[in-house]
Amino acid sequence: MKTYTRILGALAIAAILGTGSSCKKMLDLRPENLTLSEEALKTPEDIKALLNSCYDEFANLMNGSVQNYHELLGENLSEPQNSAGSLYYTIFNRGTFSFRTADREYLDFYNCILRINTIFDNIESIEGLSAEDKTRIMGEGHFLRAWCHWELVKLWAQPYGYTQDNSHPGVPIRLKADKNIELRSSVGDVYTQVLNDINTAMGMLPNENGNYANVFAAKALKAKVLFLMNKHNEVLEITNELMGLSNYGFSDSLNRFVQGAPEEIFFQLISTSNNDNRAGAFINNYRSDNNPNPALKPSASFMKIAMNPEDRRSAFYEIKNEGKSNQFFVCHKFDKDVFNVPLLHYTDIALMHAESITETGGDLNAAISAVDAIRKRAYDTAFVATNPAISANDLRTLIRNERQLELAFEGDWTQQLRRRGAAGETLTIRQSPWDCPGMLIQFPMSERTAGFIFNEEGGCN
């Protein structure tokens, strides 16, 4: 019996202690379908996939989400319904409260930047990456990082030119994937960084890059940035080049929001299927063919200029419950299941080109030629050519009107008004000064760290 007991005792002790040797292994659990940071970036495919995720993140921001905020701050939309959780209502009413702001978009732009900086921090250690690929990847990274910082500074800061030296606060610039907290840089510094990144991208990007950014996309982006900086001579340098390219031009279609690659497009977001739709925030908020009450509806003031029966673009809009107390308007521009989102396109380049000519005392005929190409497409048989004797000021107004219609609900018009305000024009946006605090999106509460300056409270009331 004693022997038996001893054996049992020994077995028990072995069982109790036996796990000790494999203890580390038993507790070393790793997420099975996730990759550990230290093992994630090893091959050229890894770094390419990380870059692709930057486009993915960027596309999920520019699928209408960000453009809609720009439109809500401006004058083209009517007041959205005041329903629970409606950030649109807050933004429209130009709320400046930290707890209700576009924190998702703020985070995601910086998350996109984090991914890009992770590429920059790791690309040197990737074995087997060709020099050509490395240059291209770096170029695309700089292109996207520039754009992310630019979108942030457009929404969260007063425009370029708001102060003479542009020392007014911009947004944090992040050039490293680390945990160091950065405070807001000046708007001037942010624009300098954006342009530096674009210039770097232009030196690295190829002429052809499939659906991804090529050198012309970087140039088109630079033109847009410079245009918002009111640097019209520099804009013209780029637009002259881009409009002289043989493989880009006006498309016949009034609607650029299609699947495919019309010659208009310098850069667009690609939707490959219903399940990979990069136009969701446009479709979900404007579409009215299957939704009697879309969240975003054109304003009466916009409809006044849009409902010209001779203009074929008026077909994009409809009056519902006409004449009744519950009359409202809808925009049909995005009434589709799936489409690509054009972000840099020829029409925009042509309009910048034309307007910059009027700003710089250039040849007005060239400006008329550009804007009339757009007008002819819109008016078709009802087109009447612009009088060549038109003054520069009148022509500028005409070009701007075309811009408001052509780029309607693409997130452009409000920034144009702020640009003009910063350039000295006296204007209001929905009866409020163009630079009232509510024209800036407020920073999320999480930014409340020592030294971080929040945007002014008080909205635009």
Binding site: I16, L17, F97, C112, R115, N275, D276, S325, D337, R448
Partner: protein, 1025 residues
């Protein structure tokens, strides 16, 4: 005397039979014929009779028959007879049997006066309550069943001091919020650890997020009918043996096993109803239009106000929909349960089958559970005990939207009385997901969650000798969870028939342990026992997501779709965690009255990096049975008890996230990619320094019993300081990520508990028992490192972490009054000066999230076959923040308002509760949107007294059924029939949906379109045969 005569007449024929039987047995043996009676002289059936002779090692056992008789044939000699029966005190007596003679003997059992001698389950073993050095509350299975709630933890409310339970809302399948001695965690889970028959079960309240305004209840598939007992371990002496997971208390659930010899059946059938305890009083169409127009005109509007959703005034006037009635009604419940026990010799089995269907007053909400359990005990060879348990249950929760997500929540908010259910063509009006037509969404949306759960264990214990025993234990807790949602074209923007979504999640959780017990010393003076053991637990979670954009029906009905290419299936990242633990417990008793205990657990967890993988959790405790001292016996009497207890120890907690310390990337296979190409991206930055949250706990208590322990009482004090509190910090988003886990700060919980149990009257036919408990918890944040109060928030609620305040203090702007002349709301700035402008900077800690006291009291009256039991629960003090109030009764928006809003300012000189009506936020001094502007106007006292449970039962006379039925009982039970409160916002007992564990810890006093609790009437039939 009459009874005695009756008994004699009655017993005679039976004894004759016994005598005949005795003649047929061996001539050398002796016969023991006995009858077991209560002090009212009625026979006690089912009492366990054990006889033993320590010299000859002869043991025998038998159960009494329906009339209390038993007979045993034994070799001659002296025997100790021990008779046990629940609810009676155990009797032990030595008898002497002579060869060829029959001893007739009568045993009288006294009703159990108190429970100090009972055996309670503790971690990895049992203990006599008398010998406990830790704080343990126990509940019998019967007490669990007395509360007809689908989830067992609801029955703990009001029963144990210091255990605060907010019963789940009336939505079917809802779970309770359980807090043992306050909450010590902020971002880590604050719920106690639940252990079912030895395995820490998976208890993820957020397996489904708060989808539809509802958290999953991980305890819902545990069948209350299977529960034998529940032990709640409260202090470090009791919980440190569970080490890293003991900080918030441990709840041990033990399921039923066969105890009595023979085959027994217990059948239970219950039917009941479900109604809301409170119906929100919303405005009707006329009232709404009147107040809406008043607001419009106050703002300078001319003519008729444009109405929400472009509704015309003509249409609005013609419509008057009572959305509350459309979403809340009466639900029906039914339960059928059959329990079978069988014991023969060393083999015993329990088989339980239950089907339960819980309809809710929330129309369309239902929880259906089917469960089966088999528990087996067997001693195949001497000293080797094998127990095996297996259970399988299926819970089907038919869901509707609630709270912020719609349904009854919409009925209290966005579904206006001017909106019709149907349009003129008879189709649902505005059936989109905007929450304007909850009836349409309920009817169109097919939504259910299905949970299969199986908990199994196998245990082998071998008693090597009198001193050493060894146990090997293994268990598996498997859960298969599916959520199915189908939204047809009529409610979403699609050109397809409808979209079907399915989220399957599997949890495979297993553990095994080896435990050795050794009695080092055992003599009249010293007793020293030791236990050592190791345990390993691992839990794996896998999940997938399937979406069919062109589906004809929900996927649980089968895959039926138009365009097959619209079917997308993806595997989510699998997750796992593991604990490897070594533990020991040493218990020393001196003279049976001084007890010292030391426990230690070393816990290793996969949730921490190699530097911090192991944590050490010791506890030391002592008890002094004062009443065993001679001087106390002289002073106090032999039959009274008095005991002092003290303990000090350390327990811990881990983050909920399994890989919070690791930096990770989402690989290509888990991402849609872009432009048809793969993507990978960083998902979390590493924090290799993350470590345990540790609580140092002091517990002091005194307990005793007087009047022969008819009155027992306990007073306890505890003080728990938690350091290295795990916070899910909101970091600046410009870092590119929003949060990471870190150990920051400290929290203190202290409190005092008092409870007593009293048998007030005990006569032959009538008894009256009272149980009472009360507890107060103090909670204070001591430190939050370098972070501001906004670094951690309770979801979207304005509850914060503020040093010097309890966890989740309301951090809002103070409302002062309504200006009599202008009707504008007047606030107080942070310095207490009146202001007309609400600003973020004027938020301060206000009110009290902690009640002054919580507890319950139970009274039980028994008269002959009748039993009346009622339980009151109460909360004294503590605020409720009615977060939806600011939208219902604030700036007028597209929400409906409550009738209370009539108490608003109309003209100069008015003294009103609410300001002048307005559609404009600036009239209230608010920024543009009216959603987040919390003020103390909606902070109210949440005190209540509630008749949680009243039950009246009648034991049907046996003569009605004949000898085949042992017991038949009919019980009427009413739940939540009466509530006394001054709270105006609805039901003062709030169990709302939470956004995450931090929200669950911080915002339990917030209500936001929360469903009230359920009021129910139930009739139960219980048959034992």
């Amino acid at each position: 005397m009459i009874i005695c005569d009756y008994m004699k007449r009655f017993l005679k024929p039976i004894f004759t039979i016994f005598a005949l039987y005795a003649c047929s047995v061996s001539a050398q043996n002796a016969i023991l014929k006995g009858v077991v009676k209560s002090n009212s002289a009625s026979g006690i059936s089912g009492a366990d009779v054990k006889v033993s002779n320590k010299v000859s090692k002869i043991n025998a056992s038998v159960s009494t028959d329906a009339k209390g008789f038993f007979v045993l044939e034994l070799a001659p000699g002296n025997y100790e007879v021990e008779i046990r029966k629940s609810e009676f005190e155990t009797v032990s007596e030595v008898i002497s049997l002579v060869a060829n003679e029959t001893l007739e003997k009568s045993f009288v059992l006294q009703p159990e006066a108190e429970d100090i001698g009972e055996v309670v389950i503790v971690g990895y073993g049992t203990s006599r309550r008398k010998d406990l050095t830790g704080s343990v509350s126990s509940l019998k299975g019967k007490e669990v069943l007395d509360m007809p709630a689908p989830s067992f933890e609801a029955a703990l409310q009001g029963k144990a001091a210091g255990v605060q339970i907010t019963m789940g809302s009336g939505v079917a399948g809802s779970g309770s919020l359980v807090r043992v001695r306050g909450v010590a965690s902020i971002s880590a889970a604050g719920d106690p650890l639940y252990i079912v028959d030895g395995i820490p079960i998976s208890q993820d309240y957020f397996i489904n997020g708060n989808n539809g305004g509802f958290n999953n209840n991980p305890l819902a598939t545990i069948n209350p009918n299977d529960i034998e007992s529940i032990e709640i371990l409260k202090d470090a002496a009791a919980t440190a043996i569970y080490g890293s997971r003991g900080s918030n208390g441990v709840i041990l659930i033990t399921t039923k096993r066969a105890k009595k010899s023979g085959l027994k059946f217990e059948f239970t059938s219950r039917v009941g109803t479900s109604q809301p305890t409170f119906k929100p009083q919303m405005l009707n169409s006329t009232q709404f239009l009147q107040l809406y127009q008043e607001a419009w005109e106050n703002d300078g509007g001319v003519g008729l106000a444009p109405l929400p959703n472009n509704i015309s005034w003509d249409d609005a006037r013609k419509t008057n929909t009572n959305w509350i009635d459309e979403t809340m009604g009466t639900g029906f419940k039914q339960l059928y349960s059959l329990g079978t026990t069988y014991r023969k010799g060393t083999f015993g089995a329990y088989v339980g089958l239950t089907w339960e269907d819980n309809g809710s007053f929330v129309i369309g909400s239902n929880y259906d559970r089917q469960s089966a359990r088999v528990n087996i005990d067997w001693e195949p060879i001497k000293n080797l005990n094998i127990t095996a348990s297996t259970s399988i249950s299926k819970g089907v929760n038919t869901r509707v939207d609630g709270a912020w997500s719609g349904g009854f929540g919409a009925a209290m908010s966005t579904a206006l009385p001017i909106y019709p259910i149907y349009d003129t063509s008879g189709k649902f009006w505005n059936s989109g997901n905007g929450g304007w037509n909850p009836v349409a969404i309920r009817n169109l949306k097919d939504w259910r969650t299905t949970e299969y759960r199986s908990i199994n264990n196998l245990k082998a214990s071998y008693r090597v000798n009198d001193k050493l025993s060894l146990t090997a234990f293994g268990a598996i807790d498997y859960m298969d969870f599916f959520e199915d949602i189908y939204e047809p074209q009529a409610m979403i923007n699609t050109n397809h028939a409808g979209i079907a979504k399915r989220s399957p999640r599997q949890t495979f959780n297993y553990n095994y342990n080896f435990v050795g017990n050794y009695q080092v010393l055992d003599n009249r003076i010293h007793s020293l026992s030791a236990m050592v053991g190791m345990e390993f637990q691992r839990s794996n979670l896998t999940s997938r997501y399937i979406e069919v954009a062109d589906a004809n029906q929900a996927l649980y009905k089968g895959e039926s779709f138009g365009d097959a290419s619209t079917r997308v299936e993806r595997e989510n990242p699998a997750e796992a965690f593991a604990f490897l633990s070594y533990f020991t417990r040493w218990n020393y008793k001196y003279m049976g009255k001084y007890i010292m205990e030391f426990t230690m657990r070393a816990d290793g967890s996969s949730r921490f990096g190699p530097n911090n993988a192991f944590g050490y959790f010791p506890a030391v405790s002592g008890a002094w049975l004062l009443s065993e001292e001679e001087f106390m016996r002289d002073l106090w009497g032999k039959t009274n008890s008095l005991k002092l207890r003290a303990s000090y120890g350390r327990t811990g907690n881990t983050p909920n996230q399994n890989y919070a310390w690791r930096g990770t990337f989402t690989p290509a296979q888990n991402s849609y990619g872009y432009n048809g190409n793969p993507s990978i991206f960083p998902t979390r930055l590493p924090n290799p320094d993350l470590k345990w949250e540790t609580s140092d706990v002091l517990d002091l208590s005194i307990e005793g019993g007087v009047f022969k322990n008819r009155l027992t009482w306990e007073i306890a004090y505890y003080n728990k300081t938690t350091n290295g509190v795990i916070l899910d910090l909101a970091v600046p988003r410009s870092l590119g990520f929003s949060s990471y886990y870190d150990n920051v700060g400290a929290v203190n919980n202290s409190g005092i508990e008092f409870s007593f149990s009293s048998t007030n009257i005990r006569t032959e036919n009538f008894s009256w028992k009272t149980q009472f408990n009360i507890a107060r918890n103090y909670n204070k944040i001591l430190d939050i490192g370098v972070y501001t109060q906004d670094a951690v928030s309770g979801g979207t609620n304005d509850t914060r972490v503020v040093v010097g305040e309890p966890i989740g203090t309301n951090y809002i702007v103070r409302f002062s009054h309504v200006d009599k002349e202008t009707g504008r709301p007047v606030y107080l700035d942070k310095d207490g000066k009146e202001t007309l402008t609400w600003t973020n900077e004027d938020r301060v800690s206000v009110g009290s999230v902690l009640p002054k006291a919580v507890g319950g009291f139970t009274n039980t009256f028994t008269y002959k076959n009748w039993n009346l039991n009622f339980l009151f629960v109460y909360k004294i003090g503590g605020n409720i923040y009615n977060s939806s109030g600011k939208r219902q009764n604030g700036v007028v928006t597209d929400w409906n308002m409550t009738t209370d809003y009539y108490n608003h300012w109309r003209k100069p000189g008015d003294e009103a509760k609410y300001p002048k009506l307005s559609l404009q936020t600036e009239q209230y001094g608010l920024p543009p949107d009216p959603y987040q502007y919390n003020t103390t106007l909606f902070l109210e006292d949440g005190s209540y007294l509630r008749l949680r449970n009243i039950s009246l039962s009648y034991r049907l006379p046996k003569s009605w059924f004949g000898k085949h039925v042992d017991n038949a009982q009919l019980t009427f039970t009413g739940v939540n029939l009466l509530t006394f409160t001054n709270y105006t916002g609805g039901d003062p007992e709030i169990a709302r949906d939470f956004e995450n564990p931090a929200d669950r810890n911080m915002s339990s006093n917030i209500t936001y379109l929360t469903a009230p609790q359920e009021k129910s009437y139930n009739l139960t039939l219980n048959l034992t045969f």
